[in-house]
Symmetry: C2
Subunit: 191 residues, 2 copies
DNA sequence: CCTACCGATCGGTAGG
DNA sequence: CCTACCGATCGGTAGG
C-alpha cells in the first residue's frame, strides 16, 4: 500500500465528512487533521482558514444541486417529466454526495453573512427552477389548477431534503424504490 | 420597570433560543449568560453543566410532540380526522415553541449516546403514532390501499418538520392557511 | 508537513 | 450571583 501526499481536495472532503457528522463548530482543525493523518496546524499549508473549508463544502453543495437542476430543465419533455428529472437529479446528488449535502443543508447558516447570502441566493435560484416547472405544469393542466407553485415547490423540496435524515443506502429501500415512493407521494399524496 | 431574579427556566429558555440560532457548539456559556444578564460562571448556580441545558431543551421538545400526538390519538373520529388532528397539533407545537423545536430537530444529535438514544426512542414513538393512524386509514379505505404507512409517515413528517426552516409567522401565509396547504398537499399531492 | 508556540476562549470551580 | 481563577482546547503563525 502506497501512502500518497495529502491534497487540498482530501482536506476539503474530510472537512465535509466531519462537518456533516459533528457540525462546523463541533469540529476542530485538529479533528480534520487527524482524519487525513496530519496535525491541525499542517492543514494551513493547504487552506487559509477553517471557514474557508466550510465555504468550499457549502459552495460545492450549491453547485451540485444547481447543475443537476439545469440539466433537468434542459432535458425537455412535458412539465411532468421535467419534474421527475428534477427529483431524480436531486436524489442522486443527495445519495452520491451525502456529506457535502448534509453540510450544505445544516451548516450553511454558520457562515458569515456575506457567504451565507450567496448560499441563500443559490437556494432561491434552485427552488425557482422547481417553481417554474410546477407553474408550467399547472398551465399545461398536468397538475391541479388551484396549485400554488411557490408553496408546492417548498413541500416537494421538504420531502427531498429530508431524505438525508432518514434514508439508509443499505436499508430495504433501494434508490429507484426511493424515487418511486417520493414520486408517488408528491404526485398523489395519501389518496 | 422591576428587574426580577433569573430563574432556571429563564436560563433554559435562553439556551434554547441560542442553540436554535447558533447551534449547541456555536453557543458558549458566556453567550447564554449575557442573554439573561449574568456572567457565564453564574449559570452554574442554576444548572450543573452545559449539556444539561441541551438535554432539558431537547426533552421538552420530545415531550411537547408526544403529548400533542397522544391528545390527537385520543380525540376520536375516523382516521382522516385523527390524522388532521396530528397535523394541526404538530404545527401548533412548531409555531408555539419554535426555539425548542429547532433545537430538538437540529441539535439532538450533539447529545452523548445515552441521551441521544432516549430522543431517538421518543421520535420513533411519535412517528409510530402517525404510522398507526395511516395504517388504520388504509384499512378503513380512507387512503390508497397500496400506501406503505411506514414510508408515508416519513413523508408527512418531512413536510411538517421542515416548516421550521421556511415558515415566517409574519408572512403572507397565516397558521390556518399553512395547515390547509399542508393538508391539501399531504392528501392530494400535486394532482 | 512538523516543531514549537501564540493569545483567546472554552466549560467549569472555590469561596464568599 | 460575582470575583478570581483553573487546565484544556481553540484557530492560527513563524520558521524550518
Amino acid at each position: 500500500m502506497v501512502t500518497t501526499r495529502t491534497t487540498r481536495a482530501d482536506v476539503v472532503a474530510a472537512a465535509g465528512r466531519m462537518f456533516a457528522d459533528k457540525g462546523y463548530h463541533g469540529t476542530s482543525m485538529r479533528d480534520i487533521g487527524r482524519a487525513v493523518g496530519l496535525l491541525g496546524s499542517s492543514l494551513y499549508a493547504h487552506i487559509d482558514s477553517k471557514e474557508d473549508l466550510l465555504v468550499e463544502v457549502v459552495d460545492e453543495g450549491a453547485r451540485l444541486f444547481l447543475e443537476s437542476a439545469r440539466r433537468a430543465r434542459e432535458a425537455g419533455g412535458d412539465s411532468r417529466s421535467r419534474l421527475r428529472s428534477l427529483i431524480v437529479g436531486h436524489i442522486d446528488v443527495v445519495l452520491d454526495h451525502l456529506d457535502v449535502v448534509r453540510t450544505y443543508l445544516n451548516e450553511a447558516r454558520m457562515l458569515d453573512p456575506t457567504h451565507r447570502a450567496r448560499v441563500v441566493a443559490a437556494r432561491d435560484s434552485y427552488e425557482s427552477i422547481f417553481r417554474d416547472v410546477l407553474g408550467q405544469g399547472v398551465a399545461e393542466g398536468a397538475f391541479r389548477d388551484d396549485l400554488d407553485p411557490k408553496v408546492a415547490s417548498i413541500m416537494v423540496l421538504s420531502v427531498l431534503n429530508t431524505v438525508e435524515r432518514w434514508y439508509h443506502p443499505d436499508g430495504y429501500l433501494g434508490r429507484d424504490e426511493l424515487v418511486a415512493e417520493i414520486w408517488r407521494f408528491v404526485g398523489d399524496g395519501l389518496s
